[in-house]
Amino acid sequence: MVFSDLFFLFVFIPAFILCYLLGSLIDRTLLNKDVRRTHQARNMALVVFSFIFYAWGEPVYVFLMLCCVLANYIIGLLIDHQEAHRKAALVVGLIVNIGILGVFKYANFFAETLQLTGLNISSPNIALPIGISFYTFQSISYLIDVYRKESPVQHRFIDLLLYISMFPQLIAGPIVRYGTIADNIHRRHASTSDIAYGIQRFLIGLGKKVILANQLSELSDLFLKNNLDSLSVAGSWMGIIAFTLQIYFDFSGYSDMAIGMGRCLGFKFNENFNHPYCCTSITDFWRRWHISLGSFFRDYLYIPLGGNRSHQALNILIVWFLTGMWHGASWNFIIWGLYFGLIVMVEKYTLLKIQKYIPNIFLHLYSMLLVIIGWGIFYFEDFSSMVTFFNALVGNTKELTDLLSETALFNYFWLWIAAIILSLPVFSGLSFLLTKCVPNTSFRIGIVTTAKVIFSIAVLVLSTALLVGATNNAFIYTRF
C-alpha cells in the first residue's frame, strides 16, 4: 500500500481513525496507572494497522520484517542487560540487520558483479521487500543508541514493533531515531494545533506527490524513458530538469505525509528536507536533502570511523560509497554517491573557504548544475543509456531542439512554473509578507485559516481526481 492511493486514503485511513479513536477512548476509560500501558489500546491499533499496511503489499515479507524486529528486540536486551559482551551483541545485531539487507537487496547485485569478472554464478533473483532499507536502518540506529546508552532499551516487544513498523514512516522514511520518539510511545498528546498542522502537512505532501510529481514523471518519461538515440539537447535538459523536480516532490511529498500523520498521532518526526534546491554548495545540498539519511551516516559511520580527526578523505569516500549503494543495488548509484563524495571533499578545501565572497546566484547555479548532472547518473541504471543521455546533454547529438521539447514547454507550462516556484520556500515568504501587510493578528489569522482551508480542500479534491486517472503511481523511493 502507498499513501497516494485511493484505497489508502478513503478506506484505510478512515478505518484507522475510527479504531485509533476507539483505542484512545479505551485508554482513557481504563486510566491505567502503569505508565507503560497508558497508550496500550491505541498503540495496539497502530501496530495492527501498520501490520495490515505492510502486509497489504508484502504478505510474505511482512514476516521477515517481524523477525527483524524480534531479532533486534532480543539483541537490544542482550546489549542492555550485561556489560561483558555488549559490543559482541551489537556486532551480532549489525550483522543480522546488514545481512538481511545484503541478502534481500544486494544478492542479485553481487552475483551480477561477480559474473562480470568471469565467474559463473547464477543470480539468486530474490525479490526486494518494500521498505527494507528504511526499517533495517532504523533497527541499526536503535541498537547503536542502546549500546551508546543514548536511548533506553525497549522492554516490550510490541513497543519496539510500533517504533520500527509504524506505517507513517515504515516504507519510505524518514529514518526516525528511536530517541526521537521513545518518550512518545507511552506519553504523547496531539493538540488541536498538532492535528490541524498534521492534516495540512499531509495534504501538502499529497499534493506534491499527486499533483506535481506524477505529472512531472510524465514529462521526464517523455524524454528519458525510451528512444534516447533521438534525444535532442533541449530534450535531454528538459527531461532531467523535470526528473530533478519530480524526485524532490515525490520524496519530500512522502516525507511530508509521514510527518503529517505522525504529528496527528502525537509523534514529532524530524524534518527530512529543507528546500534542497536553494542550496549554495553540494555540502549544503546534503544538509537539506534526505536529512535523516545524511545524519544516520554521519552519526553511525563517519564519526565512528574517525570523522575529520583521522583519514578524513577515506572516511568521506566510504560514507558516500555506502550512501550511493543504499539508494540502489546498481553501479550507477554507487558512482552517484562517489560523485557527490568527491565534490564534497573538493568543496571542503576550496569553495567553502571562499563562499562568502561569491554572489549567491552563482553558488545556486553551480550547485544546481552539479545536482542535475547527479540525477542524470542516478536515473540511468543502464550504462549505455547513460552515455547516450550525457552525450545529448553536452550537445553531442543530432538536434539542438525538436518538436517534443518545444511542445513540452507549452503543454506543461503551468506545471513548470508551479514546480519551480514551489521548490522554493514560498510559504515562508508569503507568511512574512502577510505579517508585514496585515498587522492585525486576528484578521491575519482569519485570512491564513481561510487560505489554508481552501488550499487543503482543493488539494484533496484535485488529488482524488488525478488518482482516479493515474495508471502508475509508485513512489520512487519505495524501491529502496
Binding site: N411, W414, G469
Partner: protein
C-alpha cells in the same frame, strides 16, 4: 496554529473528507466507463494463494481505484486539470500522449460455460494481439494536433516498410484453399497517414510503403484493393473521424467504390443513399489519450443508408467470457443492419451491425449471383452498407469472432468472393493473420446455444449502456 482556527480548519476538512469517504465507500460502484469504453474492474475472487502472493490485495486496491462512483466525472475533472497545466499558443498545437502501459489480461471470474475451443491457446493470443498492436503504436503514442473544434487525435504508426507480409501470406493461403473464389486484399490506412503535420512525421512511420509491401507479396491471382490514393484524394472531406481511431463512413464509401471496381460489380453513388447524422459524437481516442481537448470538440458521425435496395440481415451473436473468449452463440436471428444512436452517444460507431461480436449475413435484392465474405476488423464494419447494390449476399465475419469451418461455410453459401478488410495496425499483427488461418483449420464448433442476445450483451465492450435508440427499419418490400 491558533487553537480556534485549528478547530475550524479540522472541522471543515473533516466534513469534505467524510463526504468523499461516504461516496467512495457506500455508493454503488461504477461498472462501465462510457468515457474509456470499457468494463471496469470487479472485486477479485479470494483464494489463499492469491492472498499469499499479494495479488488479491493488489486487485482489491485496483478494483477500488478503478470502479469508484462517479468515475467518468472524476476522470473528466482529471483531464481538465491536465489540460489546464498547459497553454495552447498556436493553432497547430501538438500534444503527445504515451501509449497506455500494457495491462495483464484479466483472469476469468468463473469458468465459462462450455467454452467453444476456437484455438488451443486463445488466452495468449489475446495478449499477443494486444501486445503486437501496441507495438505498432509507436512510442509517440497518440498525438493530438490542432486546437478548438479542429483538434484531431492520431495514433502514431510504428510499422516498417518490410513488415506486414503475413497478411499477404494469409490472403495467398485463402486463394490456395479456394481456387475458384475471388480473393481480395485491402489494407485500410489510418488517419495519421493523411493528417500528420509535417513536423510530427518523424514520430510516425509512413504507411504507404507497408501497404505496397503487402501487395508486393500477394500472389498474382489475389487482387489487391489499394484505397490509399482515393482516400488521399478526398482527405479534405470527413473521411476519418477526429476523435476516434476509426475512419468515417464516408471514407469507407470511397474504399467500397474502389473495391467494387476491382471486383467488377455494380456500384451506386451517394445519391442512392439517405444521409443520417449522430451529432456530438466523441469517439475512442478521448478515452485512449485522456485528452479533454477531444471531448471539447465533438464531431458529427455521418452515415449513409441505401434506399433503393431491399435487404434482410441475420445475426448469429457470440457471447464472451471475461477473457474475451467465445463462450456461446445464439441461433441466427433477423435484425436491423443500421442501428440508430442518439446525439451525443459515444457508441455511434456501432451503427452498422451493432458491434463486432456477431456473424452477419445480409441478403439483398441484387441478383448477380455474387456472394461476398468480408473478413474484417472493426474498420471493416463500415464497408458492407455500400455493397448492397453490388452483391446478392454479404457475409461479414469478424477476425476475432467466428466458430465455424470456413471451408464448409464457403461451400454451403456458394461464396464467390472473399475480401480481407483490416486496418494497417490490425493487419500488421501476427495474431490477426493466425486467426484467419485457423478459420480454415478449425473443426465445426460444438457450440453452446444461448438466448439470442441484443447489442446490449453483458460482455460487449462498448454497448452496455450505449444502446442504440431504435433500429433503422430496413427497406423491405
Amino acid at each position: 496554529m491558533h487553537r480556534k482556527s485549528s478547530l475550524i480548519y479540522i472541522i471543515l476538512i473533516a466534513i469534505v473528507f467524510v463526504v468523499i469517504v461516504i461516496v467512495f465507500d457506500t455508493f454503488p460502484r461504477t461498472r462501465l466507463s462510457q468515457l474509456e469504453k470499457r468494463e471496469l474492474a470487479s472485486f477479485p475472487p479470494f483464494s489463499w494463494e492469491s492472498l499469499a502472493d499479494g495479488s488479491f490485495t493488489g486487485k482489491v486496491s485496483s478494483w477500488f481505484s478503478d470502479s469508484e462512483p462517479f468515475r467518468d466525472e472524476l476522470m473528466t475533472l482529471c483531464m481538465q486539470i491536465k489540460h489546464y497545466i498547459g497553454i495552447t499558443p498556436t493553432e497547430d498545437n501538438i500534444k503527445f500522449h504515451a501509449p497506455e502501459p500494457e495491462k495483464p489480461a484479466p483472469k476469468p471470474k468463473k469458468k465459462a460455460r462450455k467454452p467453444i475451443d476456437v484455438s488451443e491457446d486463445d488466452h495468449s493470443e489475446t495478449d499477443e494481439n494486444t501486445l503486437e498492436e501496441n507495438a505498432k503504436i509507436a512510442n509517440a503514442g497518440i498525438i493530438v494536433v490542432g486546437k478548438g473544434d479542429n483538434v484531431r487525435a492520431l495514433m502514431a504508426f510504428g510499422g516498417s516498410a518490410t513488415g506486414c507480409t503475413e497478411y499477404a501470406e494469409v490472403a495467398n493461403y485463402y486463394k490456395q484453399t479456394f481456387p475458384h473464389v475471388n480473393i481480395y486484399c485491402m489494407v485500410i490506412p489510418t488517419s495519421i497517414a493523411y493528417y500528420c503535420p509535417e513536423k510530427v512525421k518523424r514520430y510516425t512511420n509512413p504507411q504507404l510503403p507497408t501497404i505496397r509491401n503487402v501487395f508486393a507479396h500477394l500472389n498474382p491471382s489475389v487482387r489487391p484493393v489499394n484505397i490509399y490514393f482515393i482516400l488521399k484524394k478526398h482527405k479534405s472531406e470527413d473521411i476519418f473521424l477526429r476523435t476516434d481511431h476509426h475512419w468515417a463512413p464516408l471514407g469507407a464509401y470511397y474504399a467500397a467504390q474502389i473495391f467494387a471496381k476491382v471486383a467488377h460489380v455494380p456500384f451506386r453513388n451517394l445519391s442512392h443513399y439517405e444521409q443520417h447524422v449522430v451529432h456530438r459524437y466523441v469517439g475512442s481516442m478521448y478515452g485512449y489519450s485522456k485528452d479533454i481537448a477531444l471531448k471539447n470538440a465533438p464531431e458529427d458521425f455521418v452515415y449513409y443508408v441505401p434506399t433503393k435496395v431491399k435487404y434482410t440481415t441475420t445475426y448469429t451473436d457470440y457471447t464472451l467470457n471475461n477473457n474475451y473468449q467465445i463462450a456461446g452463440e445464439s441461433k441466427p436471428k433477423e435484425g436491423p443492419f443500421f442501428y440508430k444512436y442518439k446525439d451525443g452517444n459515444g457508441g455511434a460507431y456501432c451503427t452498422m451491425m451493432g458491434g463486432d461480436t456477431r456473424l452477419t449475413q445480409v441478403r439483398t435484392s441484387t441478383r448477380n449471383h455474387r456472394r461476398l465474405i468480408i473478413l474484417k476488423d472493426s474498420f471493416g464494419n463500415m464497408l458492407p452498407g455500400y455493397l448492397f447494390y453490388s452483391f446478392e449476399e454479404i457475409h461479414v465475419i469478424d477476425g476475432r469472432y467466428f466458430t465455424q469451418d470456413i471451408v464448409q461455410y464457403v461451400k454451403e453459401h456458394h461464396i464467390t468472393d472473399i475480401l480481407f478488410a483490416n486496418n494497417i495496425f490490425s493487419a500488421y499483427g501476427k495474431s490477426t493473420c493466425n486467426k484467419y488461418r485457423r478459420f480454415i483449420k478449425q473443426p465445426p464448433a460444438d457450440s453452446t446455444i444461448v438466448s439470442p442476445v441484443t447489442t446490449s450483451s453483458d460482455s460487449s465492450l462498448i454497448t452496455k449502456s450505449l444502446n442504440p435508440e431504435t433500429p433503422l427499419t430496413p427497406n423491405r418490400q
